[in-house]
Symmetry: C2
Subunit: 343 residues, 2 copies
DNA sequence: CGTTAGCACTCTACTCAGATGAGTGCTAAC
DNA sequence: GTTAGCACTCATCTGAGTAGAGTGCTAACG
């Protein structure tokens, strides 16, 4: 239906508009290296394409933008997509490799609660690894090849992950190792687990167990820890509802700063300031982007030691009373929850 | 340092400004029921408060707004907050009661991957319950009072939750029940599990087991299912980076629609349209708020049946080629992952 | 002496006319 | 069929003029 040249021009217009968001003029198409026609010729074709419904003009003397029909044609006939994938593929796989754990869930959930209730942005700091240790370990066979590894931490978190079991390892052997692990490695901090596995048990296991290498690999998989201290954000979009941030650029500098994990870590770290509820107003936050924001934080703790923080970021014109009340409750609830799990 | 009246006026100004975001004039303070002074008097006090640094004027003939020092004083001396909490408390507790599960993690993670890679907003639809069934059940005692219930589903998801075990139930009894459950209820869809527990096993258990009531309660806890089909959003803030949405109001109508779960469910439901990658441009989406948006969706499946969808929402001026490529990879990866778990 | 009414003054936000310029449509020449 | 030239259109930008909210100051009042 469309001539080859029309397709080419439509393609060029859509591509240009996708990257520039500005109406595309005939001259700019003509100047592209792969187009050998003058602006006038392009204009004629553009007029035809507009009559056919593929292009639109926002007003008489602007360039053209693709109509919905134009996008539709572009998607159906012109898009050069290959789901076989290129650079992106690796990135996706890498993201998936990142493991998730139960603690993250709880904190993420709490972040959501906070932002939903306050309509501000919530920033939570996950509990520090260094305080949690192994309480109980279990390997639960599923079928011939797989088992679920169950790790109970000192904070009462239960984590599981599926591991593959080489066929040459017998059930009784596995059981022996699990018992050994439970007697020797309980109360070892999670982050030291893998190193102590080798130093404490290596020798003994090599004596008693036949498939040492393979078993060690299974345990390696099972104990893989990835408790980095992490930041959880929620409700960043709530910034938009505040009239002082109707200027999109301002919001952007704030949102950009929210992506800078190290900065936030420093701001929220329980070390920086006492316990209880803290309010930092405007420039009391160290960052210029937060000059018009207030940050209210509280800490949650276990055994009197501060484990992490929860915070709310809003405009300096913030509902201090309400937010402080909510933060107070939530930090106490988190603390109580941890104490309860820990028993 | 401040007189009682000054404190009262400062308090009134901060309160007013917090709720209105507009500079506060002397007249509006004077009109408040609890203030018995004329605007002129208020003005005099305001001038004093400004000189002391508690208030600021954006320009000569505007009302006053609190300075940082003013907010600080408000927070330190005037905020009427009670962390003992009121209405909010119940809401927080209720939110925490919501359970989270492993499937949610994976999907939420995928949503994040998508929005991060594309810089658009991602919308994911969790897998439908109706297709997943019980594959394996296990109760793992932790200590005298608690056990971990492990549920392996047909899609290979492993879920765990901690349940309390009444002391009168013995280990061997528990084991008997778990075996019964594994032989009779495997392949029953999760959402039917609890009802079939009673209809299929009730009679038999009552015959063989002594503490029927208590055990039933334990199983009830353990099998509690909360797989509602859910929507996962990520990167909604990315909308802001698009020039066509520099008008905050437009973004808001879109963000508001994104909160309407039922609408999104309808849009993403795999039923509505074939498999493969689908592109809905502008008004092809049924909602006016999406008139300037395109929604690209793909489905992931198990055994050829579509389980859920993943989608990207952006301006009609969207990088179709790239997004389609990424969606293609991710939907295939999700499908492959499910197939792998299912084996 | 604290409080209040009155009034001139200030400054932003809004509106409207004119200037600017990018881009078109059309015609005539190549 | 393609291109150069030119008149025309219309959004955007600029600056002047205006309305209105709110102040600061002074003088009067109880």
């Amino acid at each position: 239906m469309l001539t080859e040249r029309q397709r080419m021009i439509l393609n060029a217009i859509v591509d240009d508009y996708i990257s520039s968001a500005e109406p595309v003029g005939s001259r700019s198409i003509s100047k592209r290296g792969d187009v050998g026609y003058s602006p006038a010729t392009i204009r004629n074709e553009m007029a035809d394409l507009e009559e056919l419904g593929y292009l639109e003009q926002p007003h008489t003397s602007a360039g053209r933008i693709p109509s919905h029909k134009g996008y539709r044609y572009y998607v159906d006939h012109l898009v050069p997509w290959n789901s076989a994938g290129t650079a992106e593929m690796g990135t996706i796989r890498a993201f998936f490799a990142e493991k998730l754990n139960a603690t993250e869930q709880v904190i993420q959930h709490a972040a959501m609660i906070l932002s939903n209730m306050t309509n501000y942005t919530s920033i939570l700091l996950g509990p520090e690894v260094f305080h949690t240790s192994l309480r109980h370990f279990q390997l639960l066979p599923l079928d011939g090849n797989n088992a679920v590894a169950i790790i109970v931490t000192s904070t009462g978190q239960v984590e599981n992950r599926t591991v593959q079991i080489p066929p040459e390892i017998s059930l009784s052997e596995m059981e022996k190792v699990v018992n050994l692990l439970n007697s020797k490695l309980v109360n070892v901090p999670l982050y030291k687990l893998k190193s102590q596995l080798y130093s404490e048990l290596g020798e003994e296991m090599q004596r008693h167990i036949s498939h040492y290498e393979e078993l060690m690999q299974v345990l390696d998989q099972a104990l893989e820890s990835d408790h980095d201290q992490r930041i959880y954000l929620s409700g960043a979009a709530n910034m938009l509802t505040q009239p002082e941030f109707k200027d999109v650029d301002k919001v952007k500098t704030i949102l950009d700063l929210l992506e800078e994990t190290p900065t936030l870590l420093k701001m929220l770290s329980p070390a920086s300031g006492g316990t209880g509820i803290q309010v930092r107003i405007g420039t009391e936050n160290k960052h210029e982007a937060f000059a018009n924001c207030s940050l209210i934080t509280a800490t949650y703790s276990l055994d009197g030691k501060a484990l992490g923080s929860i915070g709310i970021l809003g405009p300096t014109r913030m509902e201090y009373a309400r937010v402080m009340g909510i933060l107070g409750i939530l930090s106490r609830d988190l603390t109580a929850m941890l104490a309860h799990w820990y028993k």
